[in-house]
């Protein structure tokens, strides 16, 4: 029985991972970014104790997430639909794919810089998180729509 309760969520997870389309995948990747940055941000604000190794691991997770974010697949021409959850990809992405990709590159550069910096205390972490957060907002300003 115990084995079953463990296996069921694992199966469910595998099913989602295997069958999810680009729309679900990109939403999952974006959600993961938010959660990781959220956890890091608590450390920068002093709400969670600073642990250099854990912080670096999370910054590396952010970088791995960025590497998985393949725009050509996740925002392919036939992936314009949305799951209907708020908020969602704006049609402007497909009207200006080059501009969208440029925003993502700026975000990835900010993440890479944070990993290289390997912050040694909360203040240093705050200094590398600032530019990352700014890029989140810069892209959402143009390429995301809210559906209340």
């Amino acid at each position: 029985m115990r084995r079953l309760t463990l296996a069921l969520p694992a199966l469910a997870f595998l099913a989602t991972a295997a069958w999810a389309g680009p729309v679900e995948d990109r939403e999952a990747l974006m959600k993961e970014r938010g959660q990781t940055i959220g956890a890091l941000s608590k450390v920068a604000k002093g709400e969670t104790p600073f642990d250099a190794a854990a912080v670096l691991a999370q910054l590396q997770a952010l970088q791995a997430n960025a590497e998985k974010t393949d725009i050509d697949v996740l925002w392919a021409a036939d992936a314009k639909g949305n799951t209907g959850t708020s908020p969602e990809s704006s049609p402007k992405i497909w009207e200006d794919m080059a501009g969208f990709k440029a925003e993502e590159e700026k975000y990835e550069a900010a993440v890479a810089a944070a990993v290289t910096a390997a912050p040694a205390d909360a203040a240093a972490l705050g200094a590398v998180l600032g530019p990352i957060g700014k890029e989140c907002g810069a892209c959402h300003e143009t390429y995301r729509v809210a559906k209340n």
């Binding site: 938010g34 959660q35 940055i37 959220g38 941000s41 908020p87 704006s90 049609p91 957060g133 989140c136 907002g137 810069a138 959402h140 300003e141 995301r144 729509v145 809210a146 559906k147 209340n148």
Partner: protein
């Protein structure tokens, strides 16, 4: 004979209606007493009003950061179903901006929606909210804006279709929709913090211009029975969210924090026009942001 008399009466009535319309749509300027209340103007105090008023969102170049947000040479057009409204140059440049405007000219624009030449301004410029501002804040804002860099170059003209291109008609719009009274009747017991937040939200912050639906199929004023309950975006796609307690369930501290750095409690970020709003409100004090949050928790919940 009878037919001629009917025609004559009709002409008289039409002329009378036109005269009444002309009379009613005349620009209403501030009177001497109101102008005296503008005071001397203090640029240091005016900076706070500048950020609260969000001038840079529309009047600086799109996506401006830092010092560039103080260069008010005009911004991206607001493309709406009524036409394209181009935010003009409001830098102190004497030829292309508003450097030639007196404090009284500025106050008539902010509090009455009237340009120095006597024409009506379109309410794409959010004077229906600014009309609730204290005259002394207008005087301070004028003093601050005189200190900003002069930017040369006039913005392009508006591109608005008939009949909205007849500015005189805005006089009638103002009679119906321009109202300096507070939107929400707060109990005295609500306290000073909520009242301070009310002033910032309903006045300079002009939050209701986007977060409240409009009457007359979007052409009217704010529908006060649906105050801050969310509305179709006037510019671009999607909806502007409901920020009454019915939908905005964040704590006051979370709202204040979001207005400072743009991160939601789930560490999502502000999007769309709200990115600009955070860039402005982020300049205010924690006290001002806390007051805004307290007011948002106090407004009536609307589904």
């Amino acid at each position: 004979m009878a037919r001629r008399r009917v025609l004559g009466v009709l002409i008289v009535l039409a002329v009378a209606a036109a005269a009444a319309g002309w009379f009613l749509s005349a620009p209403q300027r501030l009177d001497a007493g109101e102008l005296a209340a503008l005071g001397e103007g203090d640029a240091a105090r005016g900076e706070r009003i500048f950020w609260a008023g969000g001038c840079a969102s529309c009047h600086s170049a799109p996506k401006s950061e830092g010092e560039a947000r103080l260069e008010l040479g005009g911004g991206a057009p607001l493309v709406t179903p009524f036409g394209s409204f181009v935010p003009p140059n409001i830098s102190p440049d004497p030829a292309d901006g508003i450097g030639g405007w007196s404090k009284e000219d500025f106050a008539n624009a902010m509090l009455r929606g009237v340009a120095p030449d006597g024409s009506h301004l379109y309410p794409a410029f959010p004077y229906p909210s600014y009309v609730r501002m204290k005259p002394s804040d207008i005087g301070d804002l004028y003093a601050f804006m005189r200190t900003l860099p002069q930017v040369s170059g006039k913005a392009a003209p508006n591109d608005i279709g008939f009949p909205f291109n007849i500015r005189r008609g805005l006089g009638l719009w103002k009679l119906l929709f321009l109202d300096p009274a507070p939107v929400i009747a707060l109990e005295e017991a609500a306290g000073a913090e909520v009242a301070a937040g009310q002033y910032l939200v309903e006045g300079p912050g002009h939050c209701g211009e986007c977060h409240t639906p409009r009457t007359l199929f979007g052409a009217g004023g704010s529908d006060k029975s649906r105050w801050l309950a969310g509305a179709p975006a006037a510019v671009g796609d999607g909806r502007v969210p409901n920020i009454t307690p019915a939908k905005l369930t964040w704590s006051a501290a979370e709202i204040a924090s979001y207005l400072k750095d743009g991160f939601t409690p789930e560490f999502d970020t502000a999007g769309g026009e709200m990115v600009n709003v955070v860039k402005n409100i982020g300049h205010l004090s924690d006290e001002d942001r806390t007051a805004i949050a307290a007011y948002l928790k106090a407004v009536p919940a609307r589904e």
